[in-house]
């Protein structure tokens, strides 16, 4: 694990990375850590270094107080849901926290895992600071990757105390664009996948050596029901506001417009999903291998012995085919909510989750908000939208303090991951909503840092021949130019969200 933490700290530009970077390449080679070395050479961009020479001079002076401690300021349902909606809350929670197995057995409720998977339940990854959130302090994959007799090898980029990170390969072996998720694990040799032995994990080591792997961490889902309701007219009106000021700071941004239907997609690191239905439909099949009614394909069809139906224990009716999960007309008379498939229930779960609750303002955080606006953070991390009149009353006409414009911005070579998704190019990312970051543990799309000041500095990146300057550059310069106390107040404000 040591080599990975070294590589990751280089990449993230954390506090002491500068001195490390100068030492590490020869060190890596001498230790035989060729992978980490090539990562450092090829992927490291001007790293932010506190207290020494900084890409953005002057160096930042603020320090990150760290995440606010528990109890969680998020993860509860709207108290304003009506009685019928509240009546299904427990059912929604249980489906979100349910562990999926490959095949049925006497004590198995949900089936369909694999053939490939990253995890076996939604809330294993969407866990912190409460169900529905993002990565917890201890990487949950270590507790699940080899249950049921699985024989997976943990990829070296996952660390026990690091974020859950999912791997994508920018290019196919023939050089054409890939960009898709390559699941970490397979169901080979699991006792609940009898006969499946042939699936093998991707060769992450080689992909890493070839610098053909990028990582994404888990996005929190609190308040997502409000985000999906924000009407396009509001997103565009905000985009077209303050254009002079934005231009002076080098900020543009554009929506990720769906190529087929023309609507603005808004979930995911590159705003590649329009709604919680497509988001949960995709996550179910991509992350867990549970095919569903939105995406009714198994995520690897190579080996028939690793595909449903699997033999099941006597006395169960859990034999299945594709899609692994579907609406269940048979259960309708028993309990109406069972009628909808899991993906609809996941969507309802996320839709019913309240946004994170910020801390009560203090003098420091109030000034921090003012500084946040003064330096220009708010021009992308737009403080709020308002939902329209909505059919779920709890979501209707709500102010949504998400701190995002839901647009894509060029972030420069330093953050670029080389993956295009819809109209998001290799260096473009959605302005990550900042609500809840007061308790967030890992930052940026690949979770490269746990330090919120470093995360800010990593927004700065000079263009190269491939990608333009980060649109955040001038704002980061403004931040670093703030007085020490203003900087700290801004950080305190963020940690109050």
């Amino acid at each position: 694990m040591q080599k990975i933490e070294t590589a990751s700290s280089i990449h993230s530009g954390s506090a002491n990375a500068g001195s490390l970077r100068r030492r590490v390449v020869p060190l890596c080679i001498s230790l035989g850590l060729l992978i980490a070395g090539s990562m450092a050479v090829l992927m490291t961009r001007p790293a932010t270094v506190h207290g020494q020479s900084c890409p953005v001079s002057p160096c930042p002076t603020a320090s990150d107080p760290g995440p606010r401690p528990l109890p969680a300021a998020a993860g509860t349902f709207y108290p304003t849901l009506n009685a019928n909606q509240q009546a299904i809350e427990n059912r929604l929670t249980s489906i979100f926290t349910e562990v999926n197995y490959v095949a049925g057995g006497p004590n198995v409720k949900t089936v369909g895992l694999g053939p490939r998977f990253n995890s076996n339940s939604c809330n294993s990854c969407h866990a912190y600071p409460a169900n529905g959130g993002s990565s917890p302090p201890v990487n949950p994959l270590f507790g699940l990757y080899n249950v049921e007799g699985g024989t997976n090898v943990m990829p070296s980029f996952e660390t026990t105390n690091g974020p859950v990170i999912v791997a994508r390969f920018p290019l196919n072996s023939n050089g054409s664009p890939d960009g898709s998720v390559h699941q970490l694990f397979t169901i080979s040799n699991r006792v609940d996948a009898p006969g499946c032995t042939q699936e093998t994990q991707p060769d992450f080591t080689t992909q890493q050596a070839n610098n053909n792997i990028i990582f994404r961490q888990v996005t929190p889902t609190y308040g997502a029901g409000l985000v999906e309701l924000i009407q396009e007219s509001a997103i565009l009106a905000n985009m077209n506001s303050n254009t002079t000021l934005k231009a002076s700071l080098g900020i543009t941004g554009h929506p990720n417009v769906d190529g087929d239907d023309g609507t603005i997609d808004r979930f995911g690191w590159k705003a590649q999903h329009k709604s919680l239905i497509t988001f949960s439909g995709e996550a179910y099949t991509v992350e867990e291998g549970v095919s569903d009614e939105a995406f009714p394909s198994e995520n690897d069809e190579t080996y028939p012995s690793c595909l449903p139906p699997f033999p099941v224990a006597p006395g169960t009716n859990k034999t299945h085919g594709v899609p692994d999960d579907r609406n269940d007309t048979g259960e309708a008379p028993k309990l109406p909510v069972n009628f909808t498939g899991d993906l609809e229930r996941f969507a309802l779960y996320m839709r019913f989750l309240q946004p994170p609750t910020p801390q009560a303002p203090t003098t420091s955080t109030t000034n921090g908000l003012a500084q946040f606006n003064a330096v220009g953070c708010n021009l992308c991390h737009n403080p709020s939208f308002t939902t329209p009149n909505a059919s779920i009353a709890a979501l209707s006409n709500q102010t949504v303090n998400l701190y995002s414009d839901l647009l894509l911005h060029d972030m420069g070579p330093g953050l670029a991951d080389g993956v295009s998704q819809g109209q998001a190019t290799g260096d473009q990312f959605r302005s990550a909503p900042l609500w809840g970051i007061g308790q967030r543990i890992n930052f940026l799309h690949d979770g490269r840092t746990a330090n919120i000041v470093t995360a800010i500095e990593d927004h700065y990146s000079l263009g190269n021949g491939v990608y333009p300057n980060s649109e955040a550059n001038a704002v980061i310069q403004n931040f670093n130019n703030l007085s020490s106390s203003n900087q700290q107040d801004l950080i305190n404000f963020l940690r109050s969200l």
Partner: protein, 486 residues
Amino acid sequence: MTDIKGNNMSLSKENGMNPQPRKHWWLKAGVPVVVLVLVAIAVTAYMPKTVKGSSTCTPSPCPTATDPGPRALPANAGGFLGTLAPNEVQIEPSITTEFNRVHDVIVTSPVDGGLGPRFNSNSCASCHQYPAVGGSSPPSNPLFNVYQYNGATNTMPSFETASGPILVPRFINQPGTTIPDGTIHQLFTVVGRSDAKGCSIQQPNFTQAQSAGNLALRQPPPTYGDGLIEIVRNIDIVNNMNSNLTQKATLGITGHPNYSGNDGSIMRFGWKAQVRSTLLMSALEYNTEMGVTNETFQNELDQTPGCVFNAIPETVTNFTPGILTEMFPADPERSEYFVQWLNPPQPAKNTSAINNGRTQFTNAGCVYCHTTSFTTPAASRPALGHIVISLYSDLLVHHMGPGLADGLPQGQAGPDEFRTAPLWGIGQRLWFLHDGRTNNIVTAIEDHYSTGNSTYPNSEANQSVVNFNNLSKTNQQDLIDFLRAL
């Protein structure tokens, strides 16, 4: 700013707000230029047409077969799979009602309302109608009964004809710009309807789009058997793609899947295979065809104040106990099941002509794109599993040349690429090709032929069409009879 989608920095669906510079350009250019453009469009759009009965044809020799026309009713399609489980059968009436429901503007119950502010039609079944509910355009264009329903003041775009196919317009570029568009621009608005008082928006300027060569039209594809198509394994599609490579290379046939950017599976519905599943298709159509916002598509097509009449989304999962349990899921899910559970079309009985026609279909090379069949895998709805589906499509997209190209890329389908249209049910189909340009199946075959130009390569079908035209008169006719038997 009454129409957010006219904004040329982002989306554009309507050109009622066409940017001023374009207008000036037209005014200055004057009538002669308009005429020239029209002529140019007419020439480029219709140039390599087969002229039946004329002395020269492209390709030569001219085809000799004639289209006997669609098989008469009763319908050879429609109706649900006979093997559905009792608990699926129990909701057949509910899902049938939903697919046939005429949507009004105002939401009056968890299952009704939500039309507009922009729309192409007001029910699924109005367009997916022939030869039975779930199919495609009927003999009389149903939009003529829809467009001014309930007081609406729409004008009918000139490309819709009373006895022609339903055509849905897309704009190639955002009006007045060179920024790619490609989205549907709905034909109609709710303006004037008694249930949409106070709404004031304009229909898109289709006349201008047409004269600018900026219009691409699509007819409704039939939905029979879609529940079977959606579960065909990707690997079977890929294996079929990689079979018969020598013959395909000889014929100039390649083809590739339109992979989903989401889960990496092969998309397979729509003229360019741009939609993955019946669920996503249904949710998309509720929104883009009828304007009904739903849990997957939560944006009104036009958010002009005064035109948004309902809470969003307009159809939702129904939490109310006591209402019929089969109404629990929202409308798109119920229409999803309607489409998912429909039987494939039943072909006519074999005759010796039809059998020979099938052989000629293979001999000419049609079969290398119009793959005879796939088999569905084990399915969690047992009625859909382990079925040989004779759809006559490889579910891949192919270059079809400048003659069919519509200029619209969708996903990995290029502007001249189309999904091999499944041929099952074409025995009773009234219009052919993506834009319904012909009702003659021989012409439809000939229109597969198109020589490349500086923009697009040759149609991959060219050699097969040449082969068809070179068949003996009897063999040609048998092939046509075989198609009309499907």
